[in-house]
Symmetry: C2
Subunit: 340 residues, 2 copies
Amino acid sequence: MRIGSLAPARPEAVAEDAFERARLLVAEDLARVNRLVVARLESRVPLVAELARHLVAAGGKRIRPLLTLLAARLCGYAGDRHIGLATCVEFIHTATLLHDDVVDGSDLRRGRASANAIWGNKAPVLVGDFLFSRAFQLMTADGSLRVLEILARASAIIAEGEVAQLETTGDLTTDEARYLAVIEAKTAALFEAACRVGAAVAGRPPAEEEALGRYGRHLGIAFQLVDDALDYAADPGRLGKGVGDDFREGKLTLPVILALARADGEERAFWQRTLEQLDQREGDLERACAILARHGTVGATLERARAYGEEARQALSVFPPSRFREALLGLVDFCIARAY
Amino acid sequence: MRIGSLAPARPEAVAEDAFERARLLVAEDLARVNRLVVARLESRVPLVAELARHLVAAGGKRIRPLLTLLAARLCGYAGDRHIGLATCVEFIHTATLLHDDVVDGSDLRRGRASANAIWGNKAPVLVGDFLFSRAFQLMTADGSLRVLEILARASAIIAEGEVAQLETTGDLTTDEARYLAVIEAKTAALFEAACRVGAAVAGRPPAEEEALGRYGRHLGIAFQLVDDALDYAADPGRLGKGVGDDFREGKLTLPVILALARADGEERAFWQRTLEQLDQREGDLERACAILARHGTVGATLERARAYGEEARQALSVFPPSRFREALLGLVDFCIARAY
């Protein structure tokens, strides 16, 4: 909490602070979402319930359901339905995470040391399907065709985005436009849908749903840009995420795309070997980071994130000032400032 | 076609004949479903469209959408909506097939020789998600919450059934009841849902939807029982499917479960080595088939399939005789007789 002169000086503390304030504002709603998440994971098949509970109940930031809750409140919604719909959003997110994790066997084994070979490959796919189906059951019980439309569309776009990302993996011709199309689909579509659902449940006119959708989409792009920047710069201890995951998988993210555009022959050969051919050796990640630093592309990526964050802020200007609008603006700060 | 004394004498020809007659009865509807399948697979991401088209448009028997079409017609439905809903059923089926295929890397490589390691594991999962999402988009556009309820529930049950099957894999304590619960979920639930959707789109009273649901569920169980029997008996050339897939994967299907109940010490040791420990050697499949033959468990499995087929027939007795009822009864013959 930020109390007068005790306000934290470090930018990352400011970010955490904005995030915590947003969470506190709908703390009771969030607690209800968490309870519903656990309750709706019940299954006749013990393994499903166990795995799903482990994955979903274990947590995460819950930023997407938070968007639904805040958007609904911003729109003056005073009922109960946003709880169930925020839960749907979280289930869809978790399902996509699970399916995203299904990479080659070795990665899976690293993540799931105790599971045998069949289990390790199959369970995340099937439990993801279960969560996805549960989400659609919850939406159907809610009964809003508009909400179903928003989230079914987002789910299709996410799947397309993930495939588009596969296509760009190791492909050094990937340009910024193609990269942006990928992150808009794989990340921003669900941020946008989460916000739209909040407006839809409140029965607000299309212009407000549109504005919240624009906020969510730009926030999602900013969020992913920061994520991709951090992958070449983060302090692994602080974020619970390793540096270099994208590099190791040969993903073409913006820091690399911008560096490729400025690469000399030697650098180009380096990217070809490491990302195109996935022939990586000791010290390659450090060299990649050094090249990015030389061209300043991590900073340029964060600069773009700030611009998208600004777009997100602008989108909210159609709403009158309120605690909820402040909280949503604070989430932009959170998404950007966590990079520092 | 069966024309007087030219009627084929072989049972499998009778089965094919019943199936072809059912298809011919709604040939125009089926052609529209096929066109819609192709049209709704369009995607901004070329790889998605290409893969999905390859997988769905390549065909298969289309027995599940056929059930929706025939059930709708049996209920006197004269509109167009059953075309889109039959397409949803086919998309959900294909999505589950794709996800079912995601087993260990070696199996995937066998099925997809040209794909590299990342591609081979990820694409089927993501394109499955895409098909699944498309199905829910189509249903939402149709606008029936009852249909959404039926198919979202079936999807969740299928995922649970697949996980339950994982749990029984290699587990020699699996009994007949547990096996039946698995196939009811993984196979019969979608047969049931496909039929229920036909009644729902026609706006028929609950009793008729219930009767069609019961028909579909029992037909689905019979279908899977025959499938599992054929896996230890089929002529690979004729069915386009190898014998012994279940054996190689350590699946506990009814022919083995029944044989285990009658096993002596030596046989039990054999099943422990081959299915529990998956330590399989040259000649093991032949020995497994010989053990099943000695106990007559493939025949006993088919006997149960016939009993479920009879239940399916009985369920249709609430409907007055019609060409559509005949066709649905013929599909029972098809499901059973293809084993001979």
